[in-house]
């Protein structure tokens, strides 16, 4: 039913040579789809945590509110703003590259990475303060808390910890992207890697948008 030419030996040789130099054919849309699918798994990963949060919040509403007052809303808000602004800069970097402005692209990516570092520094101080007050998983103090408060702080550490891990990963991705822009591997005709790096960074932002009110603002 389908026309499939019989393979002869000479032709095989050409196939063989072709396969050894095997240049993967470029499929930007496929690459982007792959990134989106990966983002879905990340969403589901955090989705599992949000289910845990929702269940315990429904079981211990009062404890959760009391515990949340101990979090620093100011740092939380600040970090939200940092992430939103960095989301914008990374989105702009794509525009810059599309317009052929390589310098601006690098500049904008640099700013994004800088924001990521500031976010982590903030997080460090925030966690550090809690540790200073002996409020960390496994500490004596934690075990004396009310059950709901204990769960709140456990979730707080687990969720923000996992999120911070994603920030670090995102940062690494952006650094790689930045270097590739610099070397010209990513340019205004082939920039799907930049787009994918940006998508990943936005994912980090998406998750924070939910984490922020659920952890910091329910007082």
């Amino acid at each position: 039913m389908r026309q499939q030419p019989k393979t002869s030996n000479q032709k095989l040789e050409t196939i063989m040579n072709h396969s050894i130099t095997h240049t993967e054919h470029r499929d930007d849309l496929g690459a982007k789809m792959g990134m989106w699918l990966f983002i879905f798994t990340e969403l589901l990963l955090f989705g599992g945590l949000f289910i845990v949060y929702a269940v315990y919040r429904s079981q211990y509403p009062d404890d959760f509110q009391i515990a949340a007052t101990q979090l620093n809303t100011f740092i939380g808000t600040l970090n939200t703003i940092i992430l939103l602004v960095s989301s914008m800069t990374v989105a702009m970097s794509i525009t810059a590259l599309q317009k052929g402005n390589k310098k601006l692209t690098i500049y904008l990516l640099g700013i994004t990475i800088l924001f990521a570092i500031i976010f982590l520094v903030n997080k460090y101080f925030e966690w550090g303060a809690k540790f200073h007050h002996h409020l960390y998983p496994g500490s004596e103090l934690m075990l004396t808390l009310k059950r709901g408060e204990l769960l709140f702080f456990s979730l707080y550490y687990f969720m923000t910890g996992l999120h911070a891990l994603h920030i670090v990963v995102g940062m690494v991705i952006l650094i790689v992207v930045l270097l590739k822009v610099k070397s010209g591997k990513i340019n205004n005709t082939d920039f799907v890697l930049l787009e994918n790096g940006g998508l990943y960074w936005h994912l980090v932002d998406l998750i924070w948008i939910f984490l922020f009110p659920l952890l910091y603002l329910i007082t």
Partner: protein
């Protein structure tokens, strides 16, 4: 196979999107000072959902990308919502 259509978004659009997002951030912080009783969490989640939709649409280019991406994203969010609802068939009626 085409390598996707490329829409170039202005810097200005992004700046406006950021302003709107910051506005909603301020709003969610602001409303958290009031007590809406049972609705508190709903209000916070509605604002967060609006923000997430904006990020998805503009920063993540869903508005300009292929329809299939939009379908997939909505399917995934629908699925997460369904899993929540079904899990709570247990916890709300225990």
């Amino acid at each position: 196979m085409s390598n996707g259509k490329h829409h170039i978004t202005d810097y200005k659009t992004y700046a406006w999107v950021l302003v709107i997002l910051l506005f909603f951030t301020a709003l969610t912080v602001f409303v958290s000072w009031f007590d809406f009783k049972a609705l508190t969490i709903a209000v916070a989640l509605i604002i967060a959902s609006i923000k997430v939709t904006i990020v998805l649409t503009y920063f993540m280019h869903l508005k300009y990308d292929y329809l299939v991406f939009r379908l997939m994203v909505s399917m995934v969010f629908l699925l997460i919502a369904l899993v929540f609802v079904i899990t709570f068939f247990d916890y709300l009626f225990r």
